[in-house]
C-alpha cells in the first residue's frame, strides 16, 4: 500500500479512540457469543444487529460488523470443540480433531490453541490485506460498466460453481435473487416492474429484509425442527494453556495455513468453509503421522483454525476494493454499509484512506482482543452454551421483526420477512446454497445498470465480452470457474464407471 505511514499512524489513533475500541470489544464479544450458539453463524449475527448500526458513522459500523464476523469465527469453533456441533461451515473442520481432544480431557488446550491459531491466521491475513487491497483497488479504477458487469458475472458464477455439488440449485438461487432485485421502479426509465400494484413495493424489495428473513427467520425455523434433540455432552475444560511441545507441533501449521486461508478468502465464492477444509487436508498430507488426524491431533485443529480466520479477513478485500463481496457474510456487511451511505469500491482507497486504515488497524486490535477474551474468559464463555435454545430462538425472531421494522417502518416488510423466512427454511431443507441468492439480491440492480450501459456502448453481448483485455480475461475466468467442477465431475464419473466395469 505504498508507504502511507501518515495514514497508518492516523488510522491507529482513530481505531484506538474509546468509542471505536468499544465497538471492537462489543462486536468481538457478541460475535463470539452468537458464533458459539449451535446453528448460528456470522451472517445471522450481523443480519440481526444491523439496526444497531443505523445512525452510526460508517467507519464505526464497519468496525463493529467486521469484529462480529471474526468474533463469530472464534466462537464457532467453541461449540465444535465442546459439543461436536459446528455453528457454521467454517467451524466444521474444528470438530475433526477438536472434539476428540475434548473427549481426552484436553478441551481447555484445544480452545487455547484454536484461539491462538485464529490470532496468528488473522494477523497474517491483515498483513496480506495491507499488501493486496490497495494495488487491487488501483487496478480496478480503470473498470468501466462492461468490466463491472463481467466481474459480477464472474463472482456469481464462482459462488454458484462452489455450491458444493449443487450447481444447478446455485443457478436457481442466483436467478431468484436477481429477479427479486428487479422488483420496483426501473431506475433508467421509471417503468414499474413486478410490483403487482402495491405502492410499498415501488422502491423495490429491501435487500436487508431478504437477508434478515433468510438468515435469521429461516435459521430459527430450521432449528425448530431439531430443537427437542439433546445436544452432545459437554466436557469439562481441564487445563487452559498449551504445553511447549504442543506449541512446537503447531507453530508451523499455523504459520503456513494463514496465507492459504487468506488467498482462499480473497477468491469469490470460497471463504472460511473451503479454506479450513483445504488446510486440514493439506496439513494431513504433510504430517508424518497422518493416522493421528481425527483422533485428536493438535495440528489438525490449529491448521483449519488459522486458515478460516485468515479467510474472513481476506474476504474483505473484494468487498472493499472492488465493491463486490465474494461471500454471503461480506454481502450482508456490504448491504448494511451501503445503507449508511458509504460506497465501497476502488475510489474508497483514494477518497477515504483514513477510513480504510482505521479499519485495518481495528482488525489488528480486534484479533488481539479476541484471543485475550477467548482464553481469559473461557469458563464464562462456555456457560453460553448452556443457554436453552427454547428461550433463545423466540428472542432471535423478535429481533428479526424489530430489525425489519426499523428499515422502512412499513408493514409490507413483515409479510416479506415471513415469506423469505419460509424460503430460507425450504432452501436449507433442500440443501440449496444461500450465498448466490443473497449476493444476487445485493448486486442485482447495479449489475443490470452496468449491463444496460455497456450494451448501449457495444450493441451486443459479444461486444461487451470483447470490449477490453480485462473483459476477455473475466469472461474466460467465468467459463473456467463453471467448467472446472463440471469437468472434475465428469472425470470422477468416468473413473467410477471404469471401476464398475472392471469389477464386473
Amino acid at each position: 500500500m505504498g508507504l502511507d505511514t501518515e495514514f497508518i499512524v492516523e488510522g491507529f489513533k482513530v481505531a484506538m479512540q474509546p468509542h471505536n475500541l468499544f465497538w471492537i470489544a462489543l462486536g468481538g464479544f457478541l460475535g463470539t457469543v452468537v458464533g458459539m450458539l449451535p446453528g448460528l453463524g456470522p451472517a445471522t449475527a450481523i443480519a440481526l444487529l444491523i439496526p444497531i448500526t443505523f445512525g452510526m458513522d460508517p467507519t464505526s459500523a464497519l468496525i463493529l460488523m467486521a469484529s462480529i464476523y471474526y468474533g463469530a469465527m472464534y466462537g464457532g469453533s467453541r461449540s465444535s470443540i465442546l459439543l461436536n456441533t459446528p455453528g457454521d461451515g467454517s467451524a466444521i473442520a474444528a470438530t475433526f480433531d477438536g472434539y476428540p481432544m475434548a473427549q481426552k480431557g484436553q478441551a481447555g488446550q484445544a480452545l487455547a490453541i484454536s484461539a491462538i491459531a485464529s490470532l496468528i491466521g488473522g494477523l497474517i491475513a491483515v498483513v496480506g490485506f495491507i499488501l493486496l487491497a490497495k494495488p487491487l483497488a488501483s487496478f480496478a479504477i480503470r473498470f468501466g460498466p462492461a468490466e463491472y458487469f463481467l466481474l459480477m458475472i464472474f463472482t456469481l458464477s464462482a459462488i454458484v460453481a462452489l455450491a458444493q455439488g449443487a450447481m444447478v440449485k446455485g443457478f436457481i438461487a442466483m436467478a431468484v435473487g436477481l429477479l427479486i432485485s428487479t422488483v420496483g421502479i426501473d431506475l433508467q426509465t421509471g417503468v414499474y416492474r413486478f410490483t403487482g400494484g402495491n405502492p410499498n413495493l415501488a422502491e423495490g424489495i429491501d435487500f436487508l429484509v431478504v437477508i434478515i428473513g433468510i438468515y435469521a427467520v429461516g435459521e430459527v425455523l430450521y432449528n425448530y425442527l431439531t430443537i427437542d434433540r439433546p445436544l452432545g455432552e459437554k466436557k469439562s475444560v481441564g487445563k487452559k494453556w498449551i504445553t511447549k511441545e504442543q506449541w512446537n507441533r503447531t507453530k508451523w501449521p499455523m504459520l503456513r495455513n494463514g496465507p492459504i486461508g487468506f488467498f482462499v478468502g480473497v477468491l469469490p465464492g470460497a471463504g472460511g468453509a473451503i479454506a479450513s477444509m483445504l488446510s486440514y487436508s493439506f496439513e494431513k498430507q504433510l504430517s508424518k503421522k497422518p493416522e493421528e488426524f481425527g483422533e485428536g491431533a493438535i495440528e489438525g485443529l490449529a491448521a483449519p483454525e488459522s486458515s478460516n480466520n485468515a479467510a474472513s479477513v481476506g474476504a474483505f478485500i473484494p468487498m472493499l476494493s472492488l465493491g463486490i463481496p465474494g461471500s454471503g457474510t461480506t454481502a450482508v456487511i456490504l448491504g448494511a454499509i451501503v445503507m449508511l451511505g458509504l460506497k465501497p469500491g476502488p475510489l474508497l482507497f483514494e477518497n477515504h484512506p483514513d477510513m480504510v486504515w482505521t479499519f485495518i488497524n481495528s482488525m489488528f486490535i480486534g484479533n488481539i482482543f479476541l484471543v485475550i477474551l477467548n482464553i481469559a474468559l473461557v469458563g464464562m464463555l462456555v456457560k453460553v452454551l448452556d443457554t436453552p435454545p427454547k428461550v433463545l430462538y423466540p428472542l432471535i425472531l423478535l429481533l428479526a421483526f424489530i430489525g425489519t421494522f426499523t428499515l422502512n417502518y412499513n408493514m409490507t416488510d413483515f409479510f416479506l420477512l415471513i415469506i423469505f423466512g419460509l424460503l430460507g427454511l425450504v432452501m436449507k431443507l433442500l440443501r440449496f446454497p444461500v450465498a448466490p441468492l443473497i449476493l444476487a439480491v445485493i448486486v442485482g440492480s447495479e449489475m443490470e445498470q452496468n449491463f444496460r450501459m455497456s450494451i448501449v456502448k457495444n450493441d451486443s453481448f459479444l461486444g461487451i465480452i470483447t470490449e477490453s483485455p480485462i473483459t476477455i480475461t473475466l469472461a474466460i475466468m467465468t467459463v473456467l470457474s463453471l467448467g472446472y467442477p463440471l469437468l472434475t465431475n465428469w472425470l470422477r464419473n468416468r473413473k467410477l464407471e471404469k471401476n464398475i466395469d472392471r469389477q464386473q
Partner: protein, 147 residues
C-alpha cells in the same frame, strides 16, 4: 411426487416472470425495451436451470425423497405452523395495539409453544422483561419511533 415439487415450482416462477416481463409497459424514455432485457435473461436462466434440476431429480426417482422428512418429525410440524401463525398475528397486531403489548403477546406465545405450560412463570417473565428491554433499547436508546 414431492421430489418434483421444487423443480416444477421454480419452473412455474420462471414462466410467470417471463410472461410478466413480456407484458411490462414500454418505456417512454430511452430504449423502449430497456426494462425488459435483464428480467428476460434471468427468467430464461431460471426456466433452463429448473428443467435441468427436474431431470436431475428424475434420475433419482427410485430413491426415497428424504429432504422434507425433518418437517414431520416429533413436534416439528406443530412448532412450525403455530409459530408462523403467531408471526402473522404479530404482523396484524403490531400497529393496531402498539409495540409493547403486541410483543409481549408474541414472545409469550412463542415461549409457551416451545417451553410448555408447566414453566408458565418463566415464560411470562421472559416475555415481559425482554419486551420491555427491547422497547427501551430501540425506542429510548436508539430513538426508533415504535408504534
Amino acid at each position: 411426487m414431492l421430489r418434483f415439487a421444487t423443480p416444477l415450482f421454480f419452473l412455474l416462477v420462471g414462466i410467470v416472470s417471463l410472461i410478466a416481463t413480456l407484458n411490462l409497459p414500454k418505456a417512454t424514455i430511452g430504449n423502449a425495451n430497456g426494462p425488459l432485457y435483464f428480467p428476460l435473461l434471468i427468467s430464461i436462466i431460471l426456466i433452463v436451470s429448473s428443467i435441468v434440476y427436474f431431470f436431475q431429480e428424475w434420475k433419482l426417482r427410485g430413491i426415497e425423497f428424504k429432504d422434507f422428512k425433518l418437517l414431520k418429525e416429533g413436534k416439528a410440524p406443530r412448532y412450525l405452523i403455530l409459530s408462523l401463525i403467531m408471526m402473522l398475528i404479530y404482523t396484524f397486531l403490531f400497529e393496531r395495539i402498539g409495540f409493547l403489548y403486541s410483543t409481549i403477546i408474541f414472545l409469550g406465545g412463542l415461549m409457551f409453544l416451545l417451553n410448555g405450560w408447566k414453566k408458565w412463570l418463566l415464560n411470562i417473565s421472559i416475555a415481559v422483561i425482554f419486551s420491555f428491554i427491547t422497547w427501551y433499547s430501540f425506542a429510548v436508546l436508539l430513538q426508533v419511533s415504535l408504534p
